[in-house]
């Protein structure tokens, strides 16, 4: 499995003679086989995404360090909480959403990221957190059917609320996250004035399209709604539009006012392989590895140097190209950490009303 080259032998020798802490930073990245016998458990969201992470992060890490990486998942908030709460989690590195990162950090479920073991300087500072390192950026976009409209296509969120110009069923997430932001943007609030959200105003705006809305709760459902022509426009993730379009669906997206969110790699509190886990996260920060993920499934690198090697066919689908980045903004996960419970209750009540 591990190919022995002159470099790995030398690095291995260096690892054998030096205490680990004394190893220079770059030696770690270059394949000191000092983790032989260590097993790191990596948990993510399964499917094509985890396959990409496995190929881009886990395999190079295993090759370089001699560690064994076991794949597990899917990531599940209840499971994560139970594990971290027990003090001896089965998972060492977990891919979580930005929203959960904030909550878990507040609840003391995460290990602090060790800047001595992770090259945080490689990552765009907006995607670095005390308790997690951003690995991909994705965005909520205005997706639309390319065959449903005859007078142009919807461009901005206000168009989603314009039932005259763009008639037909809409789709929103079955949660206040992103839906409220979209409503306020449509109502003319500037992205930098969004938080704290004016919930009253947002729900009032949403009232206007409620009867025409189908709510989705899983990403695959959002995709299916477009494929089945059940809806003509709505909120959907950029990667999902890419996937649906690849599979022949008549769907496109607008980048105007895209709302960006980040997935992070974290280490659950009490991980028995904390240092090895940090070093797996470090492997993720390498530009080429991130490029590989992006080319496999169209999620953006957080190391902006990773944008260089992107397949030109994939590039227009990424939310972190300079152009698309300018059109969008990053969702405030801190706001949602503090307000999700309250606003979810209100969301449910609004749906029932």
């Amino acid at each position: 499995m591990t190919k022995t080259t002159r470099r790995t032998v030398l690095a291995g020798a260096a690892a054998a003679t030096l205490p680990f802490g004394a190893l220079p930073f770059n030696a770690i990245g270059q394949g000191a086989h000092d983790l032989k016998g260590t097993t790191v458990v990596f948990a993510s969201w399964g499917g094509a995404y985890q396959e990409a992470e496995k190929a881009a992060y886990c395999e190079p890490f295993a090759k370089a360090t001699g560690a064994t990486v076991v794949q597990d998942g899917p990531m599940n908030v209840a499971k994560f909480r139970a594990m971290a709460g027990s003090g001896t989690p089965d998972w060492d590195v977990v891919d979580v959403t930005g929203g959960f990162l904030e909550v878990a950090a507040k609840d003391g479920l995460l290990e602090k990221i060790d800047p001595k073991l992770v090259h945080l300087d490689r990552i765009d500072p907006r995607f670095v957190h005390e308790y997690g390192v951003g690995c991909i950026v994705w965005s909520y976009n205005l997706g639309f059917s390319t065959t449903a409209f005859h007078n142009g296509t919807p461009k901005v969120w206000a168009d989603l609320f314009d039932l005259q110009k763009f008639p037909g069923k809409r789709t929103l997430l079955d949660q206040p996250v992103a839906s409220l932001e979209v409503a306020l943007l449509a109502d003319g609030v500037a992205p930098d004035k969004l938080y704290p959200l004016d919930a009253d105003r947002a729900f009032k705006k949403l009232d206007g399209i409620k009867k025409q809305t189908v709510f989705w709760s899983t990403n695959s459902q959002s995709q299916q709604l477009f494929v089945d022509r059940e809806v003509v426009a709505g909120i959907i993730l950029n990667g999902r539009v890419y996937d649906a379009a690849q599979k022949g669906a008549k769907i496109d997206l607008s980048w105007e006012q895209n709302i960006q969110a980040v997935d992070y790699l974290v280490v659950p509190k009490g991980s028995r392989n904390r240092d090895a886990a940090m070093r797996l996260i470090d492997t993720m920060t390498v530009a080429e590895n991130q490029t590989k993920v992006a080319n496999m499934i169209a999620y953006s690198p957080t190391n902006l140097a990773g944008l260089k090697g992107i397949d030109p066919k994939i590039e227009p689908w990424l939310c972190t190209t300079p152009e698309n980045l300018k059109k969008g903004f990053v969702m405030s996960q801190a706001y949602w950490r503090d307000n999700l419970a309250k606003l979810t209750e209100r969301w449910t009540a609004w749906k029932l009303a």
Binding site: N76, E230, L340, L352
Partner: protein
């Protein structure tokens, strides 16, 4: 004094499994209702104070109350044909009822969605036949939820009903006719009461199963068909609020218990267990 049946030891494994895999965790969750995040009744106070919880609970009970009679009405003729038809017909019917029973709930929910969607089989057919001009809204609303629940729950009524019906001696109906009862009267006074045990068992199974439904309302229902299990799931998976989840579960359990009590008072559970 009667000595204890020595076969009682044979149930021990089942009881152990239930205790470890069911009573323990469920008890733990329900206890959290009173202890998480701190000891007290704050979770119940929250449910009481914030109208959305009681509204969803009411919604859940209402949906179950609508689903149950529909399932029973649809199941009755099937069970009847199964019990009194030819052996060949019975085998076919049992097979047809069992096939979907073996299929995963999720698969069936998605299949139902495919049938009912705007450009789905049902709507395309209706439009092609000229019965409607516009596709009917059959999905992501009460109709979709109903279609999903009813088709999934039918076997739960068909089989208990069938087992009640096969035990009815056909001579009873003849006797009633001989004594001057019209077919309707014979059915209402003789046949129907004899099917009651199966009817009640099936009805209760359907009602209680529907109360706890999660996948079907999430996939086929609309915004107004939110059910209590979805809220319990949210509390655990999104908010990590075991206390609220426990409290909601306890309220659901109490509602279910209340229904059973009502049944005991009106019909009598002995009737059902027979």
């Amino acid at each position: 004094m009667k000595s204890i049946d020595s076969r009682i030891w044979l149930v021990l494994p089942a009881v152990l499994v239930l205790a470890v895999a069911f009573l323990g965790p469920v008890g733990w969750l329900l206890a959290r209702a009173f202890t998480f995040p701190e000891p007290g009744l704050q979770n119940f106070a929250a449910i009481w104070e914030r109208p959305v919880y009681l509204k969803v609970l009411g919604n859940t009970l209402l949906i179950s109350a609508v689903v149950t009679p529909i399932v029973v009405l649809l199941a009755f003729p099937v069970a009847h044909l199964m019990a009194h038809g030819s052996a060949r017909l019975r085998r076919w019917l049992i097979f047809l009822v069992l096939v979907p029973f073996w299929t995963s709930l999720l698969v069936r929910a998605f299949a139902t969605a495919i049938l009912l969607q705007r450009h789905g089989v049902v709507n395309s057919l209706l439009v092609a036949l000229g019965l409607v001009d516009e596709p009917l809204p059959l999905l992501y609303n009460f109709v979709g939820l109903l279609a999903g629940c009813v088709q999934v729950l039918l076997p739960f009524v068909i089989f208990p009903l069938y087992s009640s019906m096969v035990r009815i001696d056909p001579a009873f109906m003849k006797a009633a006719a001989t004594l001057g009862a019209s077919p309707v009267r014979a059915f209402v006074r003789v046949y129907l009461p004899l099917t009651l045990p199966g009817l009640m068992t099936g009805g209760i199974l359907v009602f209680i199963s529907t109360l706890g439904y999660y996948v079907i309302p999430a996939l086929l229902g609309g915004p107004r068909q939110q059910m209590i299990s979805q809220m319990i799931q949210d509390q655990i998976a999104t908010f990590g609020n075991w206390g609220m989840a426990g409290a909601l579960s306890l309220v659901l359990l109490a509602a279910t218990g209340g229904m059973l009590l009502l049944l005991q008072l009106t019909v009598g559970l002995k009737e059902v267990a027979r």
